[in-house]
C-alpha cells in the first residue's frame, strides 16, 4: 500500500524560481483538489496536524453562475446600444438615469460574482492526519461546521453517475462515523475514488497506530 504521507507528485508545492511559484499560487487559488497543500491553514488546526486533503466542489459545478456572470458582463455592451438605436429610450430621458442603470447593473453583477465565488471557495472539506472537517456555507451568513476524528470513522463510500460526473471525474463521498446518523457529505468533489482511498489509508494507519 502506498504511503499517503509520501507524495509521489508533490502538487501545489512552490518550487524554486518565481515562475513556478506563480503557477503554484494560481493553481492553488482555484483548485478543488489539493493533496498536501502548501501554505494553507484552518482555524482549529492544532500544532503538528497536517492537512492531507483540501476539497472543494469541482470547478465544473460553477459553470452555471460563471456563464450567467459572463452574460451579465457583456449584456450592456449590446443591450444599451440596441435600446438606443431602436429608439426605445423616450425623448427627454435623463442621461444620468442611463448612467445609473449601467453602474447599478455592474454593481449587482459584481456582487453576484463575488458572493458565488466566496461561497464556493470557502465551502471546503478538509482531511488531516487526525480529523475530518466539513465547512459548509449555505449562504453568506450561515455556516455549518462539523468535524470528527479519523479513529471514529466506520465507513467511506463514494457515489458517481451521469455524464458530467463521469466525464469530469467528480462525485459525492459519504463518510459514516461511529455516532448515530453522523454522516459527512463531501458533495461533488473531484476524484472521489482517490478521496475514499486516502481516507481508508488514513483509517488503516490510525488503527495500526492504535493497535
Amino acid at each position: 500500500m502506498p504511503d499517503i504521507f509520501i507524495s509521489s507528485q508533490p502538487q501545489n508545492t512552490a518550487k524554486k524560481g518565481n515562475k513556478s511559484k506563480k503557477v503554484s499560487f494560481a493553481s492553488q487559488a482555484i483548485s478543488s483538489f489539493l493533496f498536501l497543500p502548501d501554505g494553507v491553514r484552518f482555524e482549529t488546526q492544532i500544532p503538528g496536524e497536517t492537512i492531507i486533503l483540501l476539497l472543494r466542489k469541482h470547478w465544473i459545478t460553477n459553470i452555471a453562475w460563471v456563464f450567467m456572470s459572463f452574460v451579465f458582463l457583456v449584456a450592456p455592451i449590446f443591450l444599451f446600444p440596441a435600446i438606443s438605436l431602436g429608439g426605445l429610450i423616450p425623448p427627454g430621458f435623463p442621461a444620468s438615469l442611463l448612467t445609473f442603470s449601467i453602474l447599478g447593473w455592474y454593481l449587482i453583477t459584481f456582487s453576484y460574482i463575488f458572493v458565488n465565488f466566496v461561497l464556493w471557495y470557502f465551502t471546503v472539506s478538509i482531511v488531516t492526519n487526525d480529523r475530518i472537517i466539513d465547512i459548509d456555507y449555505i449562504n453568506i451568513l450561515n455556516k455549518k461546521f462539523a468535524e470528527t476524528r479519523i479513529d471514529r470513522l466506520e465507513d467511506v463510500t463514494e457515489r458517481t453517475g451521469g455524464f458530467l460526473k463521469s466525464f469530469f471525474d467528480y462525485g459525492d463521498v459519504f463518510v459514516q462515523t461511529a455516532a448515530k446518523e453522523a454522516v459527512f457529505h463531501f458533495l461533488e468533489v473531484p476524484h472521489p475514488e482517490k478521496v475514499v482511498q486516502i481516507i481508508n489509508e488514513l483509517m488503516a494507519k490510525v488503527k495500526e497506530g492504535g493497535a
Binding site: 487559488a29 454593481l107 463575488f114 458572493v115
Partner: protein, 77 residues
C-alpha cells in the same frame, strides 16, 4: 383637482420618489457590502491561504464601489 392635474403632479414628483427608492435600495446594498466584508474577514480566518488577502481586498473594493454608486446617485441623480 382634475384628473389631468393629478397626472401632472404625479409626473412631477415621480423622479423624486424614484430617487428615494433608489437611495433606499443602495443603502441596503451598502449594508450588504459591509456584511460581506465582515463575513469575508471571518471566512479567511477559517481557511487561511495565500489568496486570502486578495479575497478580502476584493470585498473592500466591492464595498467602495457600492458606496461610490450611492454617492453618485445622491450627487448626480
Amino acid at each position: 383637482m382634475t384628473g389631468e392635474e393629478m397626472i401632472k403632479v404625479l409626473l412631477g414628483t415621480a423622479p423624486f420618489f424614484l430617487k428615494i427608492l433608489l437611495l433606499m435600495l443602495l443603502l441596503l446594498h451598502v449594508a450588504f457590502s459591509l456584511v460581506l466584508v465582515r463575513q469575508t474577514k471571518l471566512m479567511i480566518k477559517v481557511v487561511e491561504a495565500e489568496i486570502s488577502p486578495t479575497i478580502y481586498f476584493i470585498s473592500v473594493i466591492h464595498l467602495l464601489f457600492s458606496t461610490f454608486v450611492l454617492l453618485w446617485v445622491i450627487i448626480f441623480l
